[in-house]
């Protein structure tokens, strides 16, 4: 049932991957996609696989049995590939959202290596500002869960920038998206290095928050990176405990994806100029580096509330950086 006026063809089916690796999917992507699609008069069936590939497949079955005009798939461990194939067999195009996978008709994403790149730059600049020579600096790497494909891209992007500046990892913890595990791992790295740590590349804000607590306890303030522009991340940036976070405005990414989806649902074939190596049309969205002075940008964009950021401990910093 391609095109036409059937109910199915007015539905956009969206599958988000999990709730563990990042709060963004439920907190940002879902409302943004939902708003954009429904505003255009389409029905949005958005579901989250909750980190389970079997559930991912089940959700796809269920969405397809109700009918979809287009699928927006945020991949989980490759589960999207079979879903896209099934969809294609029914004449339904699919858009790879945020994470690439084979067989998608379109790909919309932040460039995840670029996200890592921003984090890397953050560390390099931070060291420079602290007057530490990058080549001799002792930098600990606290990466994300290696089972997550994105974690590898963040890592590769960050390492490319940092090694170009001459940084070699002094210690690399086993990757995880679990704050408590990251905290313990970093504390042990710190002990092993005898406290000689000049900067910590951390893949996201959750891990960064625990690393910062350990640094606080030991009376250290050094460059630390992160991403997601979460409440804690922005607060840490304001407090000067985290050098930067990477803001990936879901609204922008969602807008790009829903733009494609709406065109497809309207029976048009969207034209996209950029292509991936394998020829997949690619819409890139730019991640934004956030430092203390630009936290206000996130608030202005509506992705953080000043009232939540400016708790007692952060109030002074909020005033200083004009976060209201």
């Amino acid at each position: 049932s391609t095109g036409g006026t059937t109910a199915a063809s007015k539905r956009a089916c969206v599958i988000l991957p999990d709730t563990q690796s990042s709060p963004r999917y439920e907190a940002s992507d879902r409302p943004a996609l939902n708003d954009a699609l429904t505003a255009a008069g389409f029905e949005a069936d958005i579901q989250n696989a909750q980190g389970d590939t079997a559930k991912y497949a089940t959700i796809a079955d269920q969405q397809l049995s109700k009918g979809c005009g287009v699928m927006i798939l945020d991949d989980l461990q490759g589960a999207a590939v079979t879903v896209a194939t099934k969809a294609k067999a029914q004449g339904i195009p699919s858009i790879a959202y945020d994470r690439p996978f084979a067989g998608a008709d379109y790909y919309v994403s932040f460039d995840n290596e670029a996200v890592g790149g921003i984090e890397g730059t953050c560390i390099v600049d931070g060291l420079k500002a602290a007057g530490v020579d990058a080549k001799t600096a002792s930098v600990v790497y606290v990466g994300g869960d290696p089972a997550d494909g994105n974690a590898k891209m963040f890592h590769d992007g960050a390492v490319a920038v940092m090694s170009a500046a001459g940084i070699k990892p002094a210690f690399e913890t086993p990757g995880t998206w679990d704050g408590a595990k990251a905290g313990t791992a970093f504390e042990q790295a710190y002990t092993t290095l005898g406290g000689k740590v000049d900067a910590v590349w951390v893949a996201n804000d959750t891990n960064a928050a625990s690393v910062i607590t350990i640094l606080d306890k030991n009376g250290k303030t050094i460059p630390v990176s992160g991403q997601d522009a979460s409440v804690a991340g922005l607060q840490n940036v304001l407090l000067g405990k985290q050098t930067c976070t990477v803001y990936k405005p879901a609204k922008v990414e969602a807008a790009a994806a829903s733009d494609l989806a709406i065109q497809i649902l309207n029976g048009a074939t969207p034209s996209v100029s950029k292509k991936l190596a394998d020829g997949t049309p690619f819409v890139a969205v730019t991640p934004i580096k956030i430092v203390a002075s630009s936290v206000i940008d996130v608030v202005t964009a509506g992705d953080a509330k000043a009232s939540e950021l400016c708790t007692a401990a952060v109030a002074a910093a909020c005033t200083m950086y004009k976060v209201k």
């Binding site: 049932s1 199915a8 988000l16 709730t19 999917y25 439920e26 879902r30 069936d45 958005i46 579901q47 989250n48 909750q50 980190g51 389970d52 590939t53 079997a54 559930k55 991912y56 497949a57 089940t58 959700i59 079955d61 269920q62 969405q63 397809l64 049995s65 109700k66 009918g67 461990q77 490759g78 589960a79 590939v81 079979t82 194939t85 067999a89 029914q90 004449g91 084979a102 290696p146 089972a147 997550d148 494909g149 994105n150 974690a151 590898k152 990757g175």
Partner: protein, 411 residues
């Protein structure tokens, strides 16, 4: 006063048998019945909530979606019967599949050989776990938690960071994604009905030869008719075109006979072999089993081997459905597998449970995702509702067991 001497329950007319059956039900020998009622209630609930629930397509979907969990739950029954647990069953399946793709995809080994290697790996894993549990007497919760962690590492090492491998072998893809021709569905049903008939005749002949009473033969016919009608309806529905797009989809999904064969063999082993008998005995009272001369350690090890091997089979179904093997495969499914078995009526304390319990329980757990998938709730609410429905289903189950079960106290 009638001094009934040593009946066996095989005596009496059809009417007596029916009365006895309902009395047994009332007195708490419910088996999978409470879980079946939970299943029916959930089905009614979801039909009310979504017009798509009662479609032919969704009917087929439910079976395919639950197959992986059903096989895993069947696997777990073997260790649960002993009062043990295998937290590693899911990741064992995951490593089994990782091994499969490494052998087949990376090293170019024949798919069939690779599958056999994966199954062999499952058996070996079960043997090792069983060895720790049975010989060294480490609690299975701890051993299998260790394997649960360790195997996550193995998966990462075998498939690489963020590693995902496509499984492109048509035979494997077909299991969960293709259907049998129409005639094969009917053939399958015929084999089941005729097979049941022959087995029942064989049992009867053994009894009559010994001079023991047998149940009225009409009972057997009623049972077979019941099976034929229910099965016939299911096959007929599945044989119609259920596609919502141009490409026709019809026929009994290939996975259904596979699961049925597993259930049949499993039930046969549990009910009719020495091993099965000893499994129940050791699960009920290990010391009594030991004193009766049963090699308790051997039974335990064998149970873990069957569990891990069947877990790899469920991994195969996973790979077939997802179309790929990922480095996190199997981490979350095992708790659902245990829950399926328990909701279906298998005791966590050993000694009570059958294959059918696992199957019905798996359908209960799977129908939750199936139904909620048609409704499409945000993750937070979805989690909340899933948890709530699980507790609700278990409550129906517990309440129906309890009403009558009050009397089944340990004397």
């Amino acid at each position: 006063m009638s001094n009934t001497s040593l009946a066996t329950g095989h005596e009496g007319t059809l009417r007596d048998q029916a009365t006895a059956y309902f009395q047994r039900i009332r007195s708490g020998e419910m088996g999978a019945l409470p879980a079946v009622s939970a299943l029916i209630l959930l089905a009614i609930l979801f039909s009310a909530l979504s017009p798509f629930f009662l479609t032919k397509l969704n009917f087929a979907n439910l079976f395919v979606q639950s197959a992986e969990l059903a096989v895993l739950a069947c696997a777990l029954v073997f260790v649960l019967l002993l009062g043990e647990i295998d937290l590693a069953a899911g990741v064992t399946a995951g490593v089994g599949m990782a091994l499969f793709v490494v052998l087949n995809q990376k090293m170019g080994i024949d798919p069939l050989l690779s599958v056999i290697a994966a199954l062999a790996f499952g058996s070996l894993t079960g043997w090792i776990i069983g060895f720790f549990v049975a010989k060294i007497r480490v609690p299975s919760f701890v051993v299998t938690l260790g394997f649960f962690l360790g195997f996550q590492g193995l998966q990462l090492i075998m498939l690489g960071d963020g590693g995902i491998y496509r499984v492109d072998i048509p035979a494997i893809q077909a299991i969960m994604n293709s259907n049998m021709p129409e005639w094969a569905g009917w053939g399958m049903l015929a084999i089941m009905v005729v097979g049941s008939f022959l087995i029942a005749l064989w049992d009867r002949s053994r009894r009559t030869r010994t001079g023991l009473a047998t149940r009225p033969i009409s009972m057997l016919f009623i049972r077979l008719a019941f099976m034929a009608v229910l099965g016939g309806i299911a096959v007929a529905i599945l044989n119609e075109n259920r596609s919502v797009s141009i490409k026709a989809i019809a026929g009994v999904p290939i996975v259904i006979p596979i699961v049925l064969v597993i259930v049949f063999i499993g039930t046969f082993v549990l009910d009719r072999t020495l091993f099965g008998r000893y499994l129940y005995a050791v699960g009920g009272n290990p010391e009594a089993g030991r004193r009766a001369g049963i090699d308790v350690a051997k039974i335990r090890i064998a149970a873990f081997m069957i569990c891990s091997t069947l877990a790899v089979v469920s991994g195969l179904l996973h790979a077939s459905r997802i179309g790929s093997v990922e480095s996190t495969a199997g981490r979350t499914i095992v708790l659902n597998g245990v829950a399926a078995a328990v909701v279906g009526g298998v005791s966590l304390f050993g000694g009570r449970g059958r294959m059918m319990n696992a199957i019905v329980g798996a359908l209960v757990i799977s129908i939750i995702d199936n139904g909620l998938g048609l409704i499409g709730l945000p993750a937070g609410i979805n989690f909340l509702v899933t948890g709530g429905v699980l507790v609700g289903a278990a409550t129906i189950d517990a309440l129906s067991r309890k009403r009558s079960g009050g009397s089944i106290l340990r004397t």
